[in-house]
C-alpha cells in the first residue's frame, strides 16, 4: 500500500533525467570504503562526491536542523549536508543526497526522514536517496540491483582489508607517510579494477595488497593495541569521534578497528535469527540466509589468505563472534549494532587487545544494553580487559574525552 504523505514535507523523486548531471553527496563515515563505493556507482553513471568537511558549522547546522536529543550521528550527517548545500560550492538544483537506512528498531532508520524534514524549508528540490537492502523508500532512478549490491560487498571487503592493514602498519612505518601513500595507491587501483571488471579476482588482489603492505619498512617494536568498537557511525567517522585513531597513533598505540563486513554479516544473520526465534520464514529471511552464506565465504577466504601471508592479524571469524555473543546475551538483541558490540568486545579481549574503547553517541539506546550493560560481565570473564565507554555529542569536549582515554591508557601500562 502506498502510504499517504503529509503536506508538510516535500519529497522530490530522483529521476533518470537527474541522473545525468546531478552530483550526489555522500556523508563522511568510512573514508576508505566510501571512496570505493563512489567508484562503483560511477560505473553505473552516478556522479558522487564524498563530503569531508569538519568545521564547527557542520555541528551548528545539525543543531539548528534536527531535534537536539536526536543522536549525534543524525545531527552530524544532516549538519554536514546542510553545511554543504549552504556553502555555495554546489548547485542546489543539481544536487542529491545519499543516506543509508537499515530498517531496524533503532532511531537510525529515521535519519532519512529527519533529513527530508530539515530540507523541506530551504531545499525542497533536493532529492534524498536511500541506500538500503530492505526495500525501504524506493527510488526508480536509484535502484540497488543485485549486481550493484554484490559490487558493494566487494568494496566493503577490500575497504576492510585496507583499513586493517593501514592501522597495522602505520604505527610502525619507518618512512613518514609511506603507509598513507600506499593506501592512496591502492584506493586508486581498486577504483580502476572496479571500472574494468577485474575486481572479482579477489584471491590475487588480496595477495597483492598483502604483499605491498608486507613490504613496507616497519620498526620491529610492539605497541599496545587499542580496540575501537561501538555505534557504527561514531566508531568509524573521524568527524564524529574527534579523529580518535589519529589521537591513538599520536599517543603511540595501534588502533584496532573491526571491519564493516561484520556489520553487514550481522544484518544478514539477524534475518535468519528471527526465523529461529519466531519461526518466521518468508522470502526475505530466505534471501538473508543465502546472502549470509555468500558473505561469510568471502570472509573465510580473506582470513585464510591473510593467515597464509603470515604477517598480519586477520579479522575475527564471524561464526566465532556469534559464539562469543552467545555467552553473554541472545542474538535476539538486534537493534542498532546489538549483540555485535558485545561480541566484538569479547573477541578483542580474548585475542589480546585488552584495551577497548566503546564509542557511542550520548544517550544511544541500544548501547545502554549491549555496551555499558555488558561491560561488567565481560570484565568478570577477562579481569585484565580495560574497557572505557566514551560518549560523543555536540557539547562533549575533546579534552574531556581524551582525558578519559588517557586514564584507560595509563591503566594499560599497569
Amino acid at each position: 500500500m502506498e502510504k499517504s504523505k503529509s503536506q508538510r514535507v516535500n519529497i522530490t523523486t530522483f529521476t533518470e533525467e537527474m541522473k545525468k548531471d546531478y552530483t550526489i553527496l555522500v556523508p563522511d563515515m568510512l573514508p576508505i570504503h566510501f571512496k570505493l563505493i563512489i567508484a562503483i556507482f560511477k560505473k553505473y553513471g552516478y556522479k558522487m562526491e564524498l563530503l569531508q568537511t569538519n568545521s564547527r558549522n557542520v555541528v551548528d547546522e545539525g543543531l539548528k536542523n534536527v531535534h537536539n536529543d536526536t543522536c549525534y550521528p543524525a545531527l552530524l550527517v544532516i549538519g554536514q549536508f546542510m553545511d554543504a548545500l549552504k556553502s555555495g560550492k554546489y548547485d542546489v538544483n543539481k544536487t542529491a543526497l545519499l543516506i543509508s537506512q537499515t530498517g531496524g528498531g533503532c532511531r537510525a532508520s529515521n535519519y532519512l526522514h529527519l533529513l527530508r524534514k530539515a530540507l523541506s524549508n530551504e531545499f525542497p528540490q533536493v532529492p534524498v536517496l536511500s541506500l538500503n537492502f530492505s526495500g525501504l523508500d524506493k527510488n526508480p532512478a536509484f535502484e540497488i540491483t543485485p549486481a550493484i549490491a554484490l559490487k558493494l560487498v566487494y568494496a566493503v571487503v577490500y575497504g576492510d582489508l585496507l583499513m586493517s592493514l593501514y592501522y597495522q602498519c602505520k604505527p610502525y612505518e619507518k618512512k613518514k607517510n609511506a603507509t598513507d601513500n600506499l593506501l592512496a595507491r591502492w584506493e586508486h587501483r581498486l577504483g580502476k579494477l572496479f571500472d574494468d571488471g577485474r575486481y572479482t579476482k579477489t584471491t590475487s588482489i588480496y595477495k597483492a595488497i598483502l604483499k605491498d603492505f608486507g613490504n613496507l619498512e616497519r620498526e620491529q617494536v610492539k605497541k599496545p593495541k587499542v580496540g575501537i568498537v561501538g555505534e557504527i557511525y561514531v566508531k568509524y567517522s573521524p568527524l564524529a569521534n574527534n579523529q580518535l585513531c589519529d589521537f591513538l597513533l599520536a599517543e603511540g598505540y595501534e588502533p584496532n578497528v573491526p571491519g564493516l563486513l561484520d556489520f553487514v554479516l550481522y544484518c544478514a544473520i539477524n534475518g535468519a535469527n528471527d526465523k529461529a526465534l519466531y519461526g518466521e520464514r518468508n522470502k526475505t529471511t530466505f534471501l538473508y540466509s543465502i546472502g549470509y552464506d555468500v558473505l561469510y565465504k568471502f570472509q573465510k577466504n580473506l582470513i585464510k589468505i591473510i593467515k597464509e601471508h603470515g604477517q598480519f592479524e586477520p579479522p575475527h571469524d564471524f561464526e566465532h563472534l556469534r559464539a562469543a555473543a552467545d555467552k553473554y546475551m541472545s542474538q535476539g538483541v538486534k537493534m542498532g549494532e546489538g549483540w555485535l558490540i558485545t561480541a566484538e568486545m569479547v573477541a578483542l579481549a580474548e585475542s589480546g587487545t585488552k584495551n577497548i574503547i566503546c564509542t557511542q553517541p550520548f544517550g544511544c539506546l541500544p548501547n545502554h544494553i549491549v555496551a555499558k550493560g555488558m561491560s561488567r560481565v565481560i570484565k568478570e570473564a577477562y579481569p585484565d580487559a580495560n574497557i572505557t565507554a566514551i560518549d560523543y555529542d555536540p557539547g562533549a569536549t575533546r579534552v574531556n574525552q581524551e582525558n578519559r582515554i588517557k586514564l584507560m591508557l595509563a591503566n594499560a601500562k599497569l
Binding site: 502510504k3 537493534m335 544511544c364 545502554h368 591508557l409
Partner: protein, 977 residues
C-alpha cells in the same frame, strides 16, 4: 646544587605544587587559578624559586588543565587518576578504595579485589564546581554551606545526577521557604549519592577508604555525609593532611622515573613562552569598533520608560511582583505606565523577606496621596507571596510577559525571555500566545550560569559582561547544558583563551542554546518581524549583541528587560482594576511591619506520593502549605473528584494482585515496570491459567529506586528503566520462585504503522538485568524471546522456557488465547472509561487533556503525580491509548515503527479534531525516540492550530516547571477563546 622532585597539578579550578625530597613532602601549595592558568603556575614556580634558589627539579605535570601545558611545553604528563594511584601506593598502601572529588571531576579507585579506576562521565559534572554553584544559589560561601549542613534536621531528596537537575530540585525548596541548613545537608547528600550510584556502579565502597581532593578536605559537612552514608568507622575513613595536593604529590613521585630535569627559570620560561596548539575555534568580535557600540547603545535607549517621583506623585498606582526562581522583581507604576519604583535583586533563597522589605520601603517613600489600587504577582513563588502578603492576583508568567512586551511593541510577533533559570519563548499570533517554547531541565544553564561563572573567575557579573564586549576572538563553546559548557570552558582555558574571549564566548553560547535548543527555528523569518527580548540576562549587552548577530536582525530590548514579569503584573492589575474596580487586599503598612512567619517541613501522608511539604505559619495564625500536588496536602477536603484515566489504569493493574490461584505450582513474579504496564493483563491471565500464583513487585516509590540503584549499569538510561532494578529486588523480598520477564523485540502490531518494534531499552532490558544483578540466574529469571503476533512460536518459546514445570504446549496455547482475551477486555474497559470521562467533562465544560506518553508513565513515581496536578487545575485527563481506536493514523513524515509511538500519532490526530481537547506529551529524560516523535506530534497538532505542550520528566521530584507550562497552556486557551 641539589635535585628535588616536583609535581604540578593543574586542575579545572586550582593549581597545586608539591616538592619531595628523599620520599618526603617538604613543600606544598594549593591555590585557585581563576582561569588564569599559566599565570598562576608561573607565580607558584617563582615562589618555589625564592625558597629553593639554587636547586634543580625533576618534574611531571598532571591534572585536567595540565595536559595542555604539558603538551605545549613538551613536559612529561601523568594522568591524574594514575598519579593519585601512585601516591596512595606509596603512603597508604593498605587502602581499599580511594574517593577523590576535584573541581569538576569525581574519581574512584578500587585497589583491592581487582584494581579499577573510574572517572565520572561527561554528564555528571556535579562535584566541586557543583557545590560552588549551589552555595551561590544559597548566597553563602562553600565553607558556610558546610557549617550550615552540620545543623540540619531533615534531608530532602535532590536529584544526584547532575548539577542542573539538582538545582531544579533545590530552587523550589528555597522558594517554598525550606531551611537553608536542611538544603545544605541535602546538597552534600546528593554529592555522596552521585558518587555511590554514578561511579561505584555496583561495586561496594568498603574497607579502608581514603578521601582526596579540595572539597573533601575543606568541607566538613561533605566528609560527614560520606562517612555516615558509607557507614565507615573512624579508623577506616582517612582524610590525609595532604589531601588537596595529593595528586600533585603523586606526580612528583612519578617524576622520579619519567620527569625531565631543569631549574625553575628554565621551566618558567617554557611555560610562559610555549605556544599552545591552536585548537580554539573563535568567532567574530561582537563589535567591530566603538562607533558600532555607541550606535547599538543609542538604538536600545529608545525603549526606556518614563519615570515619576514616588515621593511627590499623587494618585492611583499599581504594584507588580515577579517572584522568580533566583531573583525578585518589583515595580510600581502609574496608570499611564510611568515607573514610580523598581527593584531587582537576588532573592537570596528568601523571596518573602525580600519582598516584605521592599514593600515597606515603598510605603515609607510614597506620598500619602499615592494609592495602590491593585497588585499582581507571578513566578515560582507566586502562591506563597499571594497568601503571605495579600496580593490581589496571581498570574502565570507567560501572560505577564506578553502583557509587558505588548506595551513596548503592540505588534510583537515573538518574545524571548532569558531569566536566571529559564528560557521562555512565545510566538504571538492574532494578539494571542500561539506557541510556547521553554527550555528543558537539561539546558537550564541560563543567566545564573553566567553569574556563577563570572564569580568563579573572580569577577562581578557586570564587569565580566563588559570584558566580553570588546573581545577580539570570542571562543566557540558549544551550546549544551551547564555541565558541558563547563568542560568547553576548561578546554578553552587549556588552550590559552583570555577571560575576555571566554566571556564573549559564554554570551554567545547562551544565545546558541536558546536559538538551537529552545526556539529551533528553521529560519529567522519564522520568528516574525517584531522581536522583543527580555529577562535579566539580556541586560548583559554582550548577550543582547550575540542574539542580534545570531539572528542577523535588530530586536527590541526594553530598559526594564529584567523587570518585565513584574511590569506585566502591574499592567494586569491595572486592567483588572479598571474593569472591575476591586478593593485591594494588599497588606497595609502597619500589618506589614508586624508581619513575620516561621517555616517547618513536613511530609504529607494523604497518599503514597508522600509529598514533602513546607508549612509557613504567618504571625496572624494563617498558614500556607506548599510542595503538595493535590488538595489533600493543602489540608482541603476533596469534593467532586474528577476521575482520571491514569489512576484508573494504574489502580486496575495493581488490583490484579488480589486475584489468587488455588494450589499454585509456583510463585511467578512480574516487575511492575516498563512493558508490564502495557501487557500485564495478558501475562497475568497467561500464568494464572497455567496454575501459577502471580506476584507483582511493590508500587514504585523513591525507595524502590534506591533499592536497585547499585546495579544500574548506565547512568544515562531513562528513569523508568532504572526503576526496574528496584522492582526486581522487591520481587525477591516478596519471595517469588522465579521472575518471568520476556525480551520483546516486537510489540503487538496494532495496524496502520510501518513496523511495531519496542524501543531497544524496553525490548532488551531483561538482558541488562541478568548481566548486572548477581542474584539473577537462568533458574530464577526466565526471559524467552517472544513475538506475540506469532502465536505458534510464542507458544513454543513459552512452553520451552517453563520446561521444568511440565506444562504442555496445548495448555500454553489455551492459556495464550485466554490471555489475549483478557488484554482485549482491558483495552475495551479503557476505551469505555475514556468515553465516560469525556462525557462528564463535557457536561461540566472542562478542558480534556490527553496525557500522551508511554504505558509506564502511569507509574506515580515516574510521572510524579502530574495527573493530580492536572486535576487540581480543573482538567479532565485521559491517556493516549484510550482514544487510538477512534481515528486513523495521519500522514506522517517519519518512519512509524514503534508500537507505543504509533499510538501517539493517532492520539495527536484525534486531539487535533476535538475542540475541547489538548495533548500534553510526557517525555522521559534520555528517551531518544521522542526526539523523533515530539516534532512530528507538534507538527500534527499545529497544522490544525492546536498548541503542543511537552513535559519532560526524570527522577526530579518537582512539578514547578510542569505547573507553569500547564497554566500557560490554560491561559493561552482562555486568550484564544
Amino acid at each position: 646544587m641539589s635535585t628535588y622532585l616536583l609535581g604540578i597539578d593543574v586542575g579545572s579550578t586550582t593549581v597545586k605544587t608539591v616538592i619531595c625530597k628523599d620520599g618526603k613532602v617538604i613543600y606544598n601549595k594549593y591555590e585557585r587559578h581563576f582561569s588564569k592558568v599559566r599565570e598562576t603556575v608561573c607565580q607558584q614556580l617563582k615562589l618555589i624559586k625564592e625558597k629553593y634558589p639554587d636547586s634543580s627539579f625533576k618534574l611531571a605535570i598532571t591534572g585536567s588543565a595540565g595536559l595542555g601545558i604539558a603538551n605545549a611545553c613538551k613536559l612529561p604528563f601523568v594522568q591524574e587518576v594514575f598519579a593519585a594511584y601512585t601516591a596512595v601506593k606509596a603512603d597508604y598502601s593498605d587502602t581499599d578504595v580511594v574517593v577523590e572529588l576535584g573541581g569538576e571531576d569525581a574519581k574512584i579507585i578500587f585497589l583491592t579485589g581487582g584494581l579499577e579506576q573510574r572517572m565520572n562521565g561527561s554528564c555528571a559534572g556535579g562535584t566541586g564546581a557543583f557545590i560552588d554553584q549551589m552555595a551561590t544559589l544559597l548566597d553563602v560561601t562553600p565553607a558556610e554551606l558546610s557549617e550550615l549542613s552540620l545543623k540540619s534536621e531533615k534531608l530532602y531528596p535532590i536529584a544526584s545526577r547532575c548539577g542542573v537537575f539538582a538545582k531544579s530540585d533545590i530552587q523550589p525548596l528555597l522558594n517554598q521557604g525550606a531551611k537553608k541548613e536542611d538544603i545544605a545537608a541535602s546538597i552534600f547528600q546528593a554529592v555522596v549519592d552521585q558518587t555511590v550510584s554514578g561511579l561505584a556502579q555496583g561495586r561496594k565502597i568498603e574497607g579502608k577508604v581514603l578521601f582526596l581532593g579540595g572539597p573533601l578536605y575543606f568541607l566538613k559537612g561533605l566528609r560527614m555525609a560520606f562517612v555516615s552514608t558509607l557507614g565507615l568507622s573512624d579508623e577506616n575513613a582517612i582524610f590525609p593532611e595532604l589531601a588537596p595536593c595529593f595528586v600533585a604529590y603523586g606526580s612528583a613521585l612519578q617524576a622520579e622515573s619519567i620527569g625531565s630535569e631543569m631549574n625553575i627559570d628554565k621551566l618558567v620560561r617554557l611555560v610562559e613562552t610555549a605556544k599552545s596548539e591552536d585548537n580554539i575555534v573563535t568567532g567574530k568580535p561582537l563589535f567591530e569598533n566603538k562607533q558600532e557600540y555607541s550606535d547599538f547603545i543609542a538604538r536600545h535607549s529608545k525603549s526606556d520608560l518614563k519615570y515619576e517621583d514616588i515621593k511627590t506623585y499623587e494618585g492611583d498606582a499599581f504594584l507588580g511582583v515577579d517572584a522568580g526562581s533566583t531573583t525578585t522583581k518589583l515595580v510600581l507604576i502609574t496608570p499611564d505606565g510611568k515607573l514610580l519604583y523598581q527593584h531587582y535583586c537576588s532573592n537570596k533563597g528568601q523571596p518573602l523577606d525580600v519582598i516584605k522589605n521592599k514593600l515597606l520601603e515603598i510605603y515609607s517613600l510614597a506620598n500619602p496621596k499615592l494609592k495602590i489600587r491593585a497588585s499582581a504577582v507571578t513566578g515560582y513563588g507566586e502562591d506563597m507571596i499571594k497568601a503571605g502578603l495579600g496580593i490581589d492576583f496571581g498570574i502565570v508568567e507567560t501572560v505577564a510577559h506578553y502583557k509587558a512586551a505588548s506595551f513596548f511593541c503592540p505588534d510583537v510577533d515573538f518574545i524571548i525571555d532569558i531569566g536566571g533559570q529559564d528560557i521562555k519563548c512565545f510566538k504571538i499570533k492574532n494578539h494571542a500566545i500561539d506557541s510556547i517554547m521553554l527550555n528543558e531541565a537539561c539546558s537550564s544553564g541560563c543567566g545564573s550560569f553566567i553569574q556563577t561563572f563570572a564569580q568563579a573567575m573572580g569577577y562581578s557579573i557586570a564587569d565580566f559582561a563588559r570584558l566580553g564586549l570588546f573581545a577580539k576572538a570570542p571562543v566557540e563553546l558549544g551550546s549544551r547544558c551547564t555541565v558541558f559548557m563547563n568542560s568547553s570552558v576548561k578546554q578553552a582555558q587549556k588552550d590559552g583563551a583570555s577571560v575576555e574571549d571566554i566571556s564573549a564566548g559564554l554570551s554567545s553560547s547562551i544565545i546558541k542554546n536558546a536559538v538551537y535548543k529552545v526556539i529551533r527555528a528553521k529560519s529567522i523569518d519564522e520568528l516574525g518581524k517584531n522581536i522583543v527580548v527580555q529577562g535579566g540576562t539580556f541586560l548583559n549587552d554582550a548577550v543582547l549583541r550575540s542574539f542580534e548577530k545570531e539572528l542577523g536582525r535588530n530586536v527590541i530590548r526594553p530598559a526594564i528587560a529584567g523587570l518585565m514579569g513584574a511590569f506585566g503584573c502591574a499592567l494586569y492589575a491595572m486592567e483588572q482594576y479598571n474593569s472591575r474596580k476591586i478593593i485591594s487586599s494588599l497588606i497595609k503598612e502597619q500589618a506589614l511591619k508586624e508581619f513575620s512567619y516561621t517555616s517547618t517541613a513536613a511530609q504529607c501522608n494523604g497518599c503514597t506520593a508522600h509529598c514533602n511539604l513546607t508549612i509557613l505559619r504567618f504571625n496572624d495564625k494563617r498558614k500556607f502549605i506548599s510542595g503538595n500536588r493535590c488538595e489533600k496536602g493543602a489540608g482541603l477536603v476533596v469534593k467532586d473528584k474528577t476521575e482520571n484515566m491514569i489512576e484508573f489504569k494504574y489502580n486496575s493493574l495493581v488490583a490484579l494482585q488480589e486475584k489468587h490461584t488455588p494450589n499454585p505450582k509456583a510463585k511467578v513474579g512480574f516487575p511492575l515496570a516498563l512493558s508490564f504496564y502495557d501487557l500485564l493483563p495478558f501475562y497475568h491471565t497467561l500464568f494464572s491459567e497455567l496454575g501459577f500464583e502471580v506476584v507483582l513487585s511493590e508500587q514504585s516509590t523513591r525507595d524502590t529506586y534506591y533499592k536497585g540503584q547499585q546495579t544500574i549499569a548506565s547512568d544515562t538510561v531513562c528513569y523508568p528503566a532504572k526503576l526496574c532494578h528496584g522492582h526486581i529486588e522487591s520481587l525477591f523480598e516478596k519471595g517469588v520462585d522465579f521472575i518471568f520477564y520476556p525480551c520483546m523485540t516486537y510489540n503487538i502490531d496494532e495496524g496502520e504503522s510501518d513496523n511495531h518494534y519496542n524501543c531497544p531499552v524496553v525490548a532488551y532490558y531483561p538482558e541488562l538485568l541478568k548481566a548486572n544483578m548477581d542474584k539473577l540466574n537462568n533458574n530464577n529469571f526466565i526471559s524467552p524471546y517472544i513475538d506475540l503476533n506469532k502465536k505458534k512460536s510464542s507458544v513454543r518459546n513459552i512452553t520451552k522456557s517453563l520446561e521444568k514445570y511440565n506444562i504442555s504446549k496445548k495448555q500454553v496455547e489455551k492459556a495464550f488465547d485466554k490471555a489475549f482475551e483478557s488484554l482485549n477486555n482491558w483495552h475495551i474497559e479503557i476505551q469505555n472509561k475514556a468515553k465516560e470521562i469525556i462525557f462528564k467533562a463535557r457536561q461540566k465544560n472542562q478542558h480534556i487533556i490527553v496525557l500522551a506518553g508511554r504505558p509506564y508513565h502511569i507509574d506515580p513515581e515516574i510521572n510524579h503525580g502530574i495527573h493530580k496536578l492536572l486535576n487540581s487545575l480543573g482538567l479532565a485527563t485521559i491517556t493516549e491509548d484510550s482514544i487510538t481506536h477512534l481515528v486513523h493514523t495521519p500522514a506522517l513524515d517519519v518512519l512509524n515503527q514503534w508500537t507505543y509511538h504509533s499510538r501517539l500519532y493517532k492520539a495527536a490526530q484525534y486531539v487535533a479534531g476535538q475542540k475541547d481537547m489538548q495533548l500534553v506529551q510526557l517525555v522521559s529524560f534520555g528517551c531518544g525516540i521522542d526526539a523523533v516523535t515530539s516534532d512530528e506530534i507538534r507538527a500534527i497538532l499545529e497544522q490544525k492550530g492546536k498548541l503542543y505542550t511537552q513535559l519532560k520528566i526524570d527522577e526530579i521530584n518537582n512539578l514547578g516547571a510542569a505547573k507553569i507550562r500547564l497554566r500557560s497552556l490554560i491561559a493561552a486557551l482562555e486568550e484564544k477563546e
